[in-house]
Symmetry: C2
Subunit: 308 residues, 2 copies
């Protein structure tokens, strides 16, 4: 742990009201920064920049600190915490947003503390691309910048999003976002197009079908770990990003091979997240559990390719 590089995570912290096929849960602590930070904390020290309202539980911040997450960058603003309410389809793939209340998140202006600025790995969660750029203007030449985004910014903030893309090394998006951003249906061509817009590497998440990485070495496919039970997919993508950065914080250099191994560790990390509601499982996750699932993924892919 001590040898891992620190990771700076900027994103949302929230309450989620979740209508899941198996259970309805309200006031569930969520948000992209929360999920990513818990996931990354399995691997490395984490610094979070986010905003919460005065209703956000101190116990969650305590739990984060016990995981080696620096919470000094989490601003407590007067007002209510960002809240999202959604209903998942029975297949846990489709979901409908029932309500979004930005609350204190509406005026979020990420301020990167002086002690945070040298973080070699930066994860820009899904926030306004202007704020993502603003973060990059405050940090000192990170080794790797990873960004997430969403349909809302792709459609509404194309110009500023384009600027952001030119400044990130790795973009993590889902297949629909890749199609929307590129205007191309074929996922290989869509990824090629996105890479031309800036990021050297693009990861396209496909939910229960895993993720594809596109870089100068070609394509790497990481199928999702097949689970007997999926309870709550919320935050899986954020845990994937957190696990990805987490693994990369433990290696000396971000090589194509390291990125592929990071994908496998990210898949393992995210697979635990969906086994329980909210951050319940990922907030308790231990390295030996991740390693055990990585072994499972090795088996899942194994057809003795190196002896063929």
């Amino acid at each position: 742990m001590n040898s891992a590089s620190p990771i700076l995570i900027v994103g949302s912290m929230a309450f989620d009201d979740l209508q899941l096929p198996s259970v309805t849960a309200t006031d569930v602590v969520g948000g992209s920064a929360t999920y990513s930070a818990f996931a990354a904390s399995v691997f490395a020290p984490v610094r979070v920049v986010a905003v919460v309202g005065d209703d956000f539980p101190a116990s969650t911040l305590d739990a984060m600190r016990t995981r080696g997450i620096d919470t000094a960058g989490i601003e407590r603003a007067s007002g209510k915490t960002f809240r999202w309410a959604g209903r998942y389809d029975a297949d846990l793939v489709g979901r409908t947003t029932l309500d979004t209340q930005l609350n204190v998140f509406a005026s979020f202006q990420p301020k990167i503390h002086a002690s945070y600025r040298d973080a070699p790995l930066v994860l820009l969660g899904n926030i306004h691309p202007a704020l993502q750029i603003d973060v990059l203007n405050q940090v000192e030449r990170p080794r790797l910048v990873v960004a997430d985004t969403m349909n809302f910014w792709i459609q509404g903030e194309a110009k500023i999003l384009g600027e952001m893309l030119r400044r990130v090394d790795l973009l993590v998006i889902n297949d629909e976002e890749a199609r929307l951003l590129s205007g191309i249906h074929n996922i290989v061509k869509a990824a090629d197009d996105v890479r031309k817009r800036g990021p050297r590497t693009v990861i396209i998440k496909r939910g229960e079908h895993g993720a594809l990485l596109f870089d100068e070495e070609g394509i790497f496919a990481a199928p999702a770990f097949p689970l007997h039970e999926v309870i709550d997919p919320t935050g899986a993508g954020d845990c994937f990003a957190g696990g990805l950065l987490g693994y990369l914080a433990t290696v000396p250099e971000v090589t194509p091979l390291a990125l592929r191994r990071a994908m496998v560790h990210a898949t393992a990390t995210a697979s635990y997240c969906v086994e329980a509601v909210g951050t319940q499982r990922v907030s308790q996750l231990a390295m030996n559990e991740v390693k055990s699932r990585v072994s499972g993924i090795c088996k899942l892919y194994d057809f003795g390719a190196h002896t063929m």
Copy 2:
């Protein structure tokens, strides 16, 4: 090639009228037996049992014979060949059946010639489960029986389908069929349930997302080969089955490792099929092309697992 075991394929031969996003094509030679036979012929000698009408082109039968496919078991009946018409969605995933004319296929009764009965590998294409059983009653203790089926038989012929399942070693179905057959949404649990119904091994095809194999060793995931262009998905599943059996015909024993390598060769074979309309591409496919794509798939999966 000479050392490969012969494969018996029983299925449909047809004309397809295809409305594809990029082209509309009529009178395209298709059918499960046709696609599977061309795919399997890359690896091994193939014997086909099927029925065609007097309108079926002799040139296709000639083309099959030049590929080492024994066509003596293809009955030419008086009347028209089975015809299917369909329209694909722009994403090439969804498709709508516009018309089905069974024609001579309606009274198909597979008769397995004496010289065909000792085939060690048998592929039962998607025909009525009673006919699949009828084929098994005529053959002599094959080493491996692989079957395909579809929603229509799962819903309409559950009892006889159950009998068929008890007699096959490997069932190849898609995810929706696995869910329908088991009544279970989770794909891991659905596969477990299907395996309890008879087949020791179940392969679940997920189209552009690849396929999963479930056996006593666990799960193996074969992501589809990411293509820059998909023209016509028709027959991809049949080519997958043909490539699977084809590879298994070249190895001395059907072990879990051989099955996994067969999945990779099946994926490679099917990936060529979808690059052109109908059997155009797969009917010309050479072993060195399959090997080259297998290398591509090795790279697609490679994260140096054996050195981790």
